[in-house]
Symmetry: C2
């Protein structure tokens, strides 16, 4: 049997390292890249290079940024006294897209998952503690994912922030769990409905 | 709202140009590329560049290759008198992986699809005719896909090759349609079963 040409085989191998891309998809993408216009293909190659060369983490909140501090932390309009703690920069972007938050962020860069060998020391929890201890923060909103690891990380953060919170009068809160906007009650899972019930609040018209 | 850093936004846009990759997947891949080791990311960027710079079509069979003619056409062991006509180089690769074919190939680089504006002149049918007219070919196996466009292209090829076939004694054949190996009869479609029935052959034990 005749194999792929070398350069094609290498491209397939490289693509297979991406998440959710198996052999078949890697081959499909590689064949498409071959057929792509030179401009588009070179632009993609350049974009990958640039993103690795230009992107760094904000030294304050660990968001991805090309300039340190990141645009959110550098923005004088943002409320620095309210810090929303998220797992990943993409969660931060999701909040920014929603446009509902005027404070600043802290990206943990992951969640605690002891079984995968990810402990608190692998996240940016130490810098978060330092931010809390520096004073000037009134509220820390824990916005880790509403799943097993996210909840575990949230509980860990609550405990580890307790001292600093007491000392500096910081309120530590957790984002609400409940029925997602736009959902049909008959179609959401019982875990969601349980959350929605136990988290019910006074109905203000 | 704060947008993605420039380089990240450009990477997302570039990735979105790939087939089957929407906004969400492009963002997921982009975030993963940022986290990828420098080596792996640069290797991918380099692989994309190389594939565009090094890969060309074989001047005989239009397979992708780094050296013209391609390894199949250049292989003295292959039976040059038997040409298997496929739509794309990836179909050629599939036959090579199966290892069941010892002849050579011809890649049409597509199929006829008048509704999408792809006519015979957009494919490598002219060079195939020239190969047939040069002589030395005993059989042309038409292995376009067993779908609407593939069948249409097969019929067109049969007609367009008729004269040269008669003149040079070339047998024009079509790959068999039937139940796929390993399938369960109860689960295959009626179109497949119809093919399997109408294509039945003498049972040689």
């Amino acid at each position: 049997m005749t194999n792929y040409p070398d350069s094609l085989a290498r491209l397939v191998e490289s693509l297979k390292k991406l998440p959710g891309i198996g052999s078949k998809t890697a081959e499909r993408l590689a064949f498409h890249l071959v057929k792509l216009s030179d401009d588009d293909a070179m632009e993609l190659a350049r974009a990958i290079r640039d993103v690795k060369q230009n992107l760094t983490h904000c030294s304050i909140c660990f968001n991805f940024t090309e300039h340190d501090p990141c645009p959110v932390c550098a923005d004088a309009q943002r409320d620095k006294s309210c810090v929303c703690v998220v797992e990943q920069p993409k969660d931060l972007m999701a909040f920014e897209k929603a446009g509902a938050f005027k404070g600043v962020y802290h990206c943990l860069l992951g969640h605690i998952a002891m079984l995968e060998g990810i402990g608190p020391e692998d996240l940016t929890i130490e810098p978060l503690l330092k931010r809390a201890q520096q004073g000037g923060i009134k509220e820390i909103i824990i916005a880790t994912n509403p799943d097993l690891e996210g909840e575990g990380t949230a509980v860990y953060l609550r405990d580890v922030l307790a001292d600093a919170a007491k000392q500096h009068g910081i309120k530590v809160t957790r984002i609400a769990r409940g029925v997602p906007a736009g959902a049909e009650i008959e179609n959401v899972s019982s875990a969601i409905l349980s959350d929605a019930l136990s988290g019910r609040a006074d109905f203000r018209g």
